[in-house]
Symmetry: C3
Subunit: 134 residues, 3 copies
């Protein structure tokens, strides 16, 4: 049993963005040398989240961001004065952590699955903690 | 410390369905022989999710599915052309992974809690990865 | 490699409440003596959730609770007869588990991040399972 940690440094380009980090996370898993276990991901931010979803058709993450923007509109009334209340709310809906299995030294993602940093208040510098245990 | 892995093969029967997998996950935990640790669950799919919720009154999962269908309607306009954009969006809202504690060799679920595969685009063959660490 | 477990006993005061449990979780991590790994949290309840979000401006958790109350209204029609169907639905949206990295013996939370028990059907006695692995 071992623990391997990595910290991804990211830079988003848009206010709302699904940044595909699958390759970066896969590289961290390969570097860990761990063959069987879990890879847990965490964003240390309050206006971004993590999600696994399809990363072939770019319409999929776009539909997710657009639907969330409809459910949590920018122009509603919020108590938080910084103008980014919707980003905080979306972060709690999508979630800050994800736990992906590691099998045969690789992320056991489905055929269509990728891992996204979900940016709700960019553009910004962002980080993602990777912890592989196994 | 040990890692035990299992892969559940499931078959959903409806387009929208909350499939109770509590007993299957509990069996995997028992087979692991692990007494204290965590059981992490992951669906390698982009149109299904995982949730822990009440599994006594079947109205509860039905209310969840119905409310999500209202928030992410089938007949809205989406960019993804396959007709299942709402299923992808719901998967990101509900989430693809869940981490349940293991205590005294058993899932430390609450009295009313069960574990559901949340099907948003069935009927389909589905899988769930189980990883027990402890 | 070691596993440390703790059980937090909580008492919420309101129907909808974001209870800041960051200090309690941080104490459990310190007591574990684990320097690098993960801290997984789980609520064994079906009408409460867990979320990491800003814990400086109290408007942030308030905005989250208010927006969820708008998306899942109390006065809509639900099948579950106990009157707390919205609480169950919100629990599945926000999620029952969270996985936070541990680095240098501490929770690797972001500068503005705290951990909340999200109460959707209080006031009640609540518990949170803490499992630290590393």
């Amino acid at each position: 049993m071992a623990v391997y940690d990595a910290l991804l440094n990211l830079r988003t380009a848009k206010k709302f963005e699904a940044m595909d980090v699958t390759d970066l996370v896969a590289r961290a898993v390969a570097e860990s040398g761990i063959k069987k276990g879990i890879c847990t991901l965490f964003v240390p931010h309050t206006t971004a989240g993590i999600s696994a979803n399809e990363h072939f058709d770019p319409n999929v993450p776009h539909d997710i961001l657009t639907t969330l923007a409809g459910l949590v509109p920018e122009d509603a009334s919020y108590g938080h004065p910084e103008g980014n209340a919707p980003a905080h709310i979306k972060a709690s809906i999508v979630g800050s952590s994800l736990c992906v299995p590691v099998r045969e030294g690789q992320l056991a993602l489905g055929r269509w699955q990728g891992i996204y940093l979900m940016e709700f208040d960019g553009p910004r510098s962002r980080q993602m903690h990777v912890t592989v245990i196994g």
